[in-house]
Every structure is written in structure tokens, then in C-alpha cells.
């Protein structure tokens, strides 16, 4: 029984990592209508930026800010010079997906070229392990959870209480109408890429932190899990993504405890396929129909 409670705890960590990633991903889709398959690549780029600083003795939690910056910059550049031009040319959804896929491959392999195929690990102090009953988490893991909660709360505050957040929500639900109401959707979109890019960078670093060691191709498998969380909650719904992340985080960890850790991703995939076939608008009651 204890192993399941411990799994619940690990599930929280997985969920925390996944939430940061999935919320960024789903917001990109909501506001710009692009399913950005390069997301994993940008995550890993952020992780490597953190590693670079980490090797020079900078504390991992500060490195994350650099990851956020890197993620933000890369994402904004990608949108400005690649995605938007194609969108302006009225490229079909298939074309755009191929574009993001190709971009992701370029980024991931550029990292591979620079960093080499050997896996790397961050140097950090995991901190004391806290125990509470069968729960067992290191300080670092608790830190990840805390960071994730803080980020989720910030996103919530942004969307609900700020003018920018309202503009983002308006653009997400009806870009033409938003534009006619005077919202500068172009601006909103750029800022969205900035913010979600930062989330992406941080997500990469916490992912790497939680995984222990990582290589550039680690993101390829993880993008599947991100997709699962995003689509489960309804693509384009930030709160849905958080819920999806929690569900998937817990289910994968519990199944790993029950059967074997090898099939964690498979469970996520099966969930993803079931949702896509049975209820593509996600499990939340009021899904955005696109």
C-alpha cells in the first residue's frame, strides 16, 4: 500500500512538471491556432541553457530564469520568422504541422550537434528528503511542485485579472471579433509566445531536473505526454491542461507502481488515443469546439 502512496507523491511531481509544459503548449494553440510540435525541442534547448550555466556553478533555480529567457526568445523568433509568415500565406493545418515538426527536428538535432549524444545531469543539492507517512519527496521535488503551483497561480491571475489576460481570452475565442473590438491581436500573439516560451523553457529545466539525466532526444517522448495532457483537458483550455496534467501524472505513476515503469508513456498514449477518438473536445464539460 505504501508504494501506492509514494506513487501518488511522485505523481504530483510528474503532474507539476507536465502542468507547466502543457499549459504553455495549450495556450499557444488557443491563441495562435498552431499545434506547436517544436515545443519539445525548445524545452530541451532551455534545459541545456540551464546546464551551461549550471556547469559554471550557478544555482539551478537561478538557471531556470535563463531557461525561461531562452525559451521566450526562441519562441518569439520562431513565431515571427517562421509560423506567422506561413500563416499569412494561408498555409493549411497540415502544412503548419509539418513546419513545426521540421522545426522541432532542426532544434533537437542542433542541440545534439552542439552538446553531443552523452546524457548530462544538473549539479544541485537535492536537499533533505521529507517523509510524511508513506509520502517521500526530496526538497527539490517539493520545490518543483511549489514552482509549478506558483506558475499556475500566476497564469490564472494573468488570465482572470489583467487586461492582457482578457485580451488573450478574447483573441483565443474569436480573433476577428477581438480585432474588431480594438484589441491588437498581433501584439497579444507576440506576448503570448513570449510568456508561453518562458513557460516552455522552465518546463524543460524542471523536466530535466526530474528526469535526472537527459539528452536532446528526451523531449520527443515527452511531447506525447504533453499532447495527452493538453488534449485530455481540451486543447486550448489552460485549466483543462492543468487537470489533464494532474490526471496523467497520477495515472502514469500509479500504473508504474502497479505494473512496470517501462510502459508509463504507453499509458499516456492510450489515454490520448481514447480521448481523441471518443471525445476530441476533452473531458471538461464545456469544451471549446474548434
Amino acid at each position: 500500500m505504501g508504494v501506492y502512496i509514494a506513487a501518488l507523491g511522485f505523481g504530483l511531481v510528474s503532474a507539476a512538471v507536465l502542468a507547466v509544459a502543457a499549459v504553455g503548449f495549450t495556450m499557444q494553440f488557443a491563441i495562435t491556432d498552431i499545434l506547436n510540435l517544436a515545443y519539445g525541442g525548445v524545452m530541451i534547448a532551455g534545459a541545456y541553457v540551464a546546464y551551461f550555466l549550471n556547469q559554471r556553478g550557478v544555482n539551478i533555480w537561478i538557471d531556470m530564469m535563463a531557461s525561461a529567457a531562452a525559451g521566450a526568445v526562441i519562441s518569439v523568433l520562431l513565431n515571427r520568422f517562421l509560423y506567422t509568415p506561413f500563416q499569412r500565406r494561408k498555409a493549411s493545418h497540415v502544412t503548419l504541422i509539418i513546419v513545426t515538426l521540421a522545426t522541432g527536428i532542426i532544434i533537437t538535432n542542433a542541440m545534439l550537434g552542439f552538446a553531443g549524444p552523452n546524457s548530462v545531469t544538473y549539479t544541485f543539492n537535492g536537499g533533505p528528503t521529507l517523509r510524511w507517512g508513506s509520502f517521500q519527496l526530496t526538497s527539490a521535488q517539493l520545490g518543483i511542485i511549489a514552482l509549478s503551483v506558483a506558475l499556475m497561480a500566476s497564469i490564472h491571475a494573468l488570465l482572470r485579472f489583467t487586461r492582457l489576460g482578457k485580451a488573450m481570452r478574447a483573441t483565443a475565442s474569436n480573433p476577428n471579433l477581438a480585432r474588431n473590438c480594438g484589441i491588437r491581436t498581433g501584439r497579444v500573439i507576440s506576448v503570448t509566445w513570449l510568456i508561453t516560451g518562458a513557460l516552455c523553457g522552465i518546463a524543460g529545466t524542471v523536466f530535466a531536473l526530474d528526469s535526472g539525466s537527459f539528452v536532446p532526444s528526451s523531449a520527443a517522448g515527452f511531447i506525447v505526454v504533453i499532447l495527452a495532457a493538453a488534449i485530455l483537458g481540451g486543447v486550448g483550455q489552460p485549466y483543462g491542461a492543468m487537470l489533464g496534467a494532474l490526471l496523467i501524472g497520477e495515472v502514469t505513476e500509479l500504473s508504474a507502481a502497479a505494473w512496470s515503469p517501462d510502459y508509463k508513456d504507453v499509458i499516456a498514449f492510450v489515454l490520448l488515443l481514447i480521448v481523441m477518438v471518443a471525445r476530441p473536445q476533452g473531458i471538461l464539460l464545456r469544451g471549446a469546439t474548434r
Partner: protein
């Protein structure tokens, strides 16, 4: 020309032939019918594994160092037929996924994800196909008739591959040039409108998936009969990306473009890197390869979306057609289509 060069050339021909056949299958599915099967590589892999386990002896042979299903030790051409059949049948469960309800990019993702996880499943579950190590010592077809190590065997294999590739090309071209092909292109353009004039869109998509799956399976069988081993590393989801790149470079929607693309990208490109001496840290050259393939895709999509060999406009014979009033630019096949919800 010494033997070594001859062996090299025949190897090129076989690899090229396999690439051509696979690309033709995808060209029919994606280029002509507009079916977004980004998990295409699974079908080639299924064919390769099927041919392998049908032709291999039981897995207790050879010191039982491998673990796999079947192992029926069947002679050529049964493994190849089995491979094509499995490739086709495997396509059927996916037709539900490829129905209209999902936006095309969602469908693309679903198929990509399927490829990723199929790979993970096979890698982790050893009893199926020997996991990450893959199956090896796959018997070469007709090994009892011709010595597989001889140059003659190479020539025969080349001949067979070329024959299959040619046959595939001719069959697909016949299909595409017919009214059936026209209705597929209509479906690709606007599946809602196609249904409204009586086309059974779901049925046609299924048929095309099965056809493409069979072709992919056959290409896998041909490849595994030649290289005598098959492992998950040979069919990552990125391999589908290579095929997509081939079609984009060669030209979507026409089979000559598919052939050109297959020769330029998977074959030409990967062979070209063979001549580049390994420099930098290990793994740099393969990584650069992928960077270039990705860049090729983006470059062509932007500057020449119709590919090297654009899809031809089909002019139907009319005695009284005067000069066309508009300068018809060949429309790139990846522009906005009205099917996306």
C-alpha cells in the same frame, strides 16, 4: 569495375528501390488522396517484422538468443505476401482515427504518436520481436537456389526490386489517372463537397489506407530480406518525416515526383553523407543530416511547395476549347483546403 564497386551499386539500387516503393505508397495516400497518415513507417515496419518472423525458424533455433513470435520458416514468396497482407490489414483500425471528426493536424498528431508508442511498445515488450535488439539472422529469400553472398544474388535481388517498383508505379499511375483517382483528388480537396456529390469518403479512405499499408508492408519485406535484420531503431517516427520530406521535395500529388523525391532525399541524401568524413564530436554528422532534412522541408515548403515535379493539370480533350482565359499557375498542393474545420 571491381566486385566491391558492383556490390555497392547493387546495394544502392536495392535501397533506392525500397525507398521508391515506400514513397509511392505514401504518395498515393497523402499526395493523391490527402489522407494524413504520419504514422506510415509503422506499416513498413509491420511488413518487415512479418516477413522476418515468417521466414525465420522457431526462436529456439540458433542458440535461442532471440525471442519472437511465429518463426514459421516459410519459403519465399510467402513472407512477402504475408507482409503485404499484414500491412494492409493493419491499416483498418486506423480508419476510425482518420475520419472527418478530427482536424487534419490532430489526425497527423494521432498518427505520429501511434508511431512513437508502437516503437516504445515493441522495444519494451521483448517476446514480440526481441525488443530493442531486434530480429537478426533473417534468412535471405531463395537462399537455397542462389548463394546469398554472390554477386549473382545481388543482380537477381536488384531485378526483383526494380520489377516491384515498376509494377507499383504503373498500378498507381493507372489508378490515379482514372475517374477513381479523380474522385480521390476531389476528396483531398474538399471531402465535404465530395460526400455531397455521392462519394463514399470513409470507404475510399479505408481502401487507400489498406492499399498504402500493403505497399509499405511489401517495401519492408524487401528491405528485411536484404539486410537480414530489423530493429526499432530502423523505424522511429522520424523515418516518416524523411518520407514526407521526399514527397515535398519531389512533388506532391504525382508519382513521378514521388520517385524523384525518393531518389533525392532518402537515397541521395543519406548516401551523400557517407562520403563526408566524420568530424567533430561523435554523432555530429547524423545530427547535421537531420538538421538539413528539416531545413529542406522548410525551404521547399516556402519557396517551392509544388516540389521539383509539380502535379500536372489534367487537360481533357475538347475540340472547341479556345485559348484558356486565365494563366493557370500550378496550385501548390499544401495551400489552405476547405476541409479543415
Amino acid at each position: 569495375m571491381n566486385n566491391q564497386t558492383l556490390f555497392y551499386i547493387t546495394t544502392l539500387v536495392v535501397y533506392g528501390g525500397v525507398d521508391v516503393i515506400a514513397c509511392l505508397g505514401l504518395s498515393m495516400q497523402f499526395g493523391v488522396a490527402g489522407v494524413v497518415n504520419f504514422g506510415f513507417i509503422i506499416f513498413q515496419a509491420a511488413g518487415a517484422y512479418t516477413a522476418a518472423v515468417l521466414s525465420l525458424p522457431s526462436d529456439r533455433a540458433n542458440g535461442a538468443f532471440q525471442q519472437y513470435v511465429a518463426g514459421l520458416h516459410l519459403p519465399f514468396p510467402v513472407p512477402w505476401i504475408g507482409a503485404a497482407a499484414v500491412g494492409g490489414v493493419l491499416a483498418i483500425p486506423f480508419t476510425g482515427l482518420l475520419s472527418r471528426r478530427l482536424r487534419t493536424d490532430n489526425t497527423a498528431i494521432a498518427m505520429l504518436v501511434t508511431a512513437v508508442i508502437a516503437n516504445a511498445l515493441i522495444t519494451n515488450y521483448r517476446p514480440l520481436f526481441n525488443g530493442a535488439a531486434g530480429v537478426s539472422l533473417v534468412p535471405a529469400p531463395l537462399a537455397s537456389a542462389i548463394d546469398p553472398l554472390s554477386l549473382n544474388y545481388q543482380y537477381v535481388y536488384c531485378g526483383v526490386v526494380i520489377a516491384v517498383a515498376l509494377a507499383t508505379f504503373l498500378v498507381l499511375r493507372r489508378l490515379t489517372a482514372s475517374p477513381y483517382g479523380r474522385s480521390l483528388r476531389a476528396m483531398r480537396d474538399n471531402d465535404l463537397a465530395a460526400a455531397s456529390i455521392g462519394t463514399n469518403v470513409r470507404g475510399r479512405r479505408t481502401a487507400i489506407l489498406v492499399l498504402g499499408g500493403s505497399i509499405a508492408g511489401l517495401s519492408g519485406a524487401i528491405l528485411v530480406g536484404y539486410i537480414n535484420l530489423w530493429a526499432p531503431s530502423a523505424w522511429t517516427y522520424q523515418e516518416t518525416v524523411v518520407l514526407i520530406a521526399a514527397l515535398i521535395v519531389g512533388g506532391l500529388g504525382n508519382h513521378i515526383g514521388a520517385v524523384v523525391g525518393a531518389l533525392v532525399v532518402p537515397l541521395g541524401f543519406e548516401e551523400a553523407t557517407r562520403y563526408i568524413p566524420a568530424f567533430g564530436p561523435p554523432g555530429l554528422v547524423p545530427a547535421l543530416e537531420w538538421v538539413i532534412i528539416g531545413s529542406l522541408i522548410l525551404t521547399f515548403l516556402w519557396f517551392r511547395p509544388q516540389g521539383l515535379v509539380p502535379e500536372r493539370r489534367r487537360i481533357l480533350g475538347l475540340a472547341s476549347v479556345r485559348n484558356p482565359s486565365t494563366e493557370s499557375v500550378d496550385l501548390p498542393s499544401l495551400k489552405e483546403s476547405s476541409t479543415d474545420a
